[in-house]
């Protein structure tokens, strides 16, 4: 009797709490269902089908093996990685110099603010219009090439073309260095003036300040942001597609033409190729996150 009374008394209190929890979980369900249907499931098929025979659907490593033994596909990774590395390092250095000049170069205040706004716009300006802007500038009939020809130097007579690797690298820089400016600026602002003053008071030269104070602190941030730029270039597709019409052998371009028609002759290899991209991107993001954490230890 007393036990069931206690149960009766407890029940009305316990129920609303349970009710609330189930309602709350219902509230996040649409998000999970939507992202499962349109992000997680389609992406997971890339992993699954990389290890599946495209006809018998049995487990196999054959797609990966075929990918690793195809000089054409491995070369596309290499070109993508080379392009991303060069533009990440080049864009990283130039973006850092720009941000440093604007923030610590004792320039007028409005320049730093203007630079940040421009960087926000320019890092979003990619793809087809960007490709066209550089065609107007650097194609054989472009504005800058016209000026250089008038000065008696035609880069197209010296091995330069806009539509191959070197040209693509120059175009990629346009969205690479603004991203560097945006991401590295807080780290530069976080560097205290006291550190420079202290090292100057102790008789350090400018070189010694950079070698022993500034670079060890900024190092992880610089490296981390360059890794981010690497990922930014590695995943880019539209700019290269619009500029070269798919003539350059980047991984993204190969995946794009594979999607348009079965150019690899084996659907499984297309998945394996995509999986390789995701692995490289995941490594880049993890590297960025780890280095970003190390930076925050100093700059807050």
């Amino acid at each position: 009797m007393t036990v069931s009374d206690a149960v009766k008394r407890d029940a009305p209190e316990a129920r609303p709490a349970k009710h609330k929890r189930s309602w709350a979980w219902l509230g996040v369900m649409p998000f999970f269902i939507f992202t499962f249907l349109f992000l997680l499931y389609p992406s997971s098929t890339i992993v699954i089908k990389s290890f599946q025979d495209s006809i018998t659907h049995t487990f196999t490593f054959q797609n990966i093996v075929t990918l690793l033994h195809s000089p054409y596909l491995m070369q596309s990774y290499w070109i993508s990685i080379k392009l991303s590395l060069i533009t990440a390092i080049g864009g990283g250095i130039f973006g850092f110099l720009l941000a440093y000049a604007a923030i610590r170069g004792s320039l007028p205040r409005f320049i730093a603010a203007g630079l940040m706004t421009f960087s926000g716009v320019a890092s979003n300006f990619a793809g087809v219009p960007l490709a066209f802007a550089f065609i107007a500038l650097l194609s054989p009939t472009g504005l800058l090439i016209g000026w250089m020809r008038a000065l008696g130097y035609n880069p197209y007579f010296h091995g330069f073309t806009l539509y191959t690797f070197a040209g693509l690298a120059i175009v990629y820089m346009y969205f690479q260095f603004p991203l560097m400016v945006l991401v590295i600026a807080p780290a530069i602002e976080g560097m205290r003036r006291e550190w420079l003053e202290a090292s100057e008071n102790l008789g350090a030269s400018s070189f010694q300040y950079w070698r022993y104070v500034a670079l060890p602190i900024l190092g992880p941030a610089l490296l981390g942001t360059m890794i981010l730029l690497f990922g930014n270039a590695f995943g880019a597709f539209a700019t290269a597609q619009a500029l070269t019409g798919g003539q350059i052998n980047l991984v993204t371009i190969v995946i794009g033409s594979e999607l348009r028609g079965d150019v690899l002759g084996n659907a499984g290899v297309g998945y394996a190729l995509s999986l390789g991209m995701v692995v490289v991107m995941a490594l880049a993001i993890i590297g960025y996150t780890v280095l970003q954490r190390r930076t925050e230890r100093w700059l807050r």
């Binding site: 349109f38 130039f94 720009l98 000049a101 716009v121 793809g127 107007a136 590695f234 597709f237 794009g256």
Partner: protein, 259 residues
């Protein structure tokens, strides 16, 4: 030493400005050359008089509007519920919202098209798949904007106040929370707009009318019109970013006024 540093800084800035503006200047000059021997806005007149341009451009605007609506309906309740009731789900939801950064768009579209172009999931021709894809591509920006907006207001107090006045959950969401984070939502919306307008891959591979694929197509056919379109597209990016920074400033004023 200070003076030397300054000259150096000016020089770097000068190079940066050249890199920023030369391509745009070249495009602009080129876009004015549609008439032989004189500078004119003929290319702009041509594109705005072209029914195909308007058709593809308005299609993109339509996709953008639907993407923004789906994004708001999906991410505002999610971020709200997580902040208020299920903080346990926070890390997994944040992980998912950042996934589009890890999966390159072309790889994502590859998976999406392959998944939904075979029975029983044959919806590759449905415009809904395109909108769903755009919603995913803009998710990192939209979700983060909404979440930042919610962080800047006192969600718990507002909700409890509304509840004690007898408001239901839909009333709380749409008449209390939503108006309070509208600036954050607007900035997310304009970012999504910029993304959808400039996006090439999804519309191209799902074979839907859109601005970027049309521009890529015209680029191979004509000379001056694509230059004019590139300028229009750049101006649109500028306008979207300008509005974001404008309403961003408005938000600060509002927060101060609210307190």
């Amino acid at each position: 030493m200070m003076r030397g540093g300054k000259v150096w800084a000016w020089f770097i800035m000068f190079l940066g400005v050249l890199y920023f503006f030369l391509p745009l200047l070249a495009t602009f000059i080129f876009s004015l050359k549609a008439r032989l021997g004189e500078l004119s806005f003929q290319a702009y007149i041509n594109i705005f008089n072209s029914p195909q341009f308007m058709y593809n451009f308005l299609a993109s605007v339509l996709w953008a509007v639907f993407t923004i609506i789906v994004g708001i309906l999906l991410f505002v309740p999610t971020a709200f519920v997580i902040r208020l009731r299920v903080p346990k789900a926070r890390s997994s939801v944040e992980f998912i919202t950042l996934l589009p950064f890890v999966i390159p768009p072309i790889v994502y579209v590859f998976g999406l098209v392959r998944t939904y172009s075979q029975p029983p999931l044959l919806i590759v021709d449905s415009p809904f798949l395109l909108i769903a894809g755009y919603t995913i591509l803009s998710m990192p920006y939209m979700y983060r904007s909404v979440d930042t907006g919610l962080r800047s207001i006192d969600v718990r107090t507002l909700t409890e106040a509304a509840q004690s006045l007898g408001a239901g959950w839909t009333t709380i969401l749409f008449r209390v929370i939503l108006p309070n984070i509208r600036t954050a939502i607007l900035s997310g919306a304009f970012l999504s707009f910029a993304i959808v307008i400039g996006e090439l891959i999804l519309a191209q591979y799902l074979v839907k009318p859109a601005f970027a694929p049309y521009m890529a197509y015209v680029m191979q056919q004509k000379a001056f019109e694509p230059a004019a379109m590139a300028i229009v597209s750049f101006a649109l990016t500028w306008i979207a970013m300008g509005i974001i920074s404008l309403i961003g400033r408005g938000q600060q004023v509002q927060v101060a006024g609210g307190r």
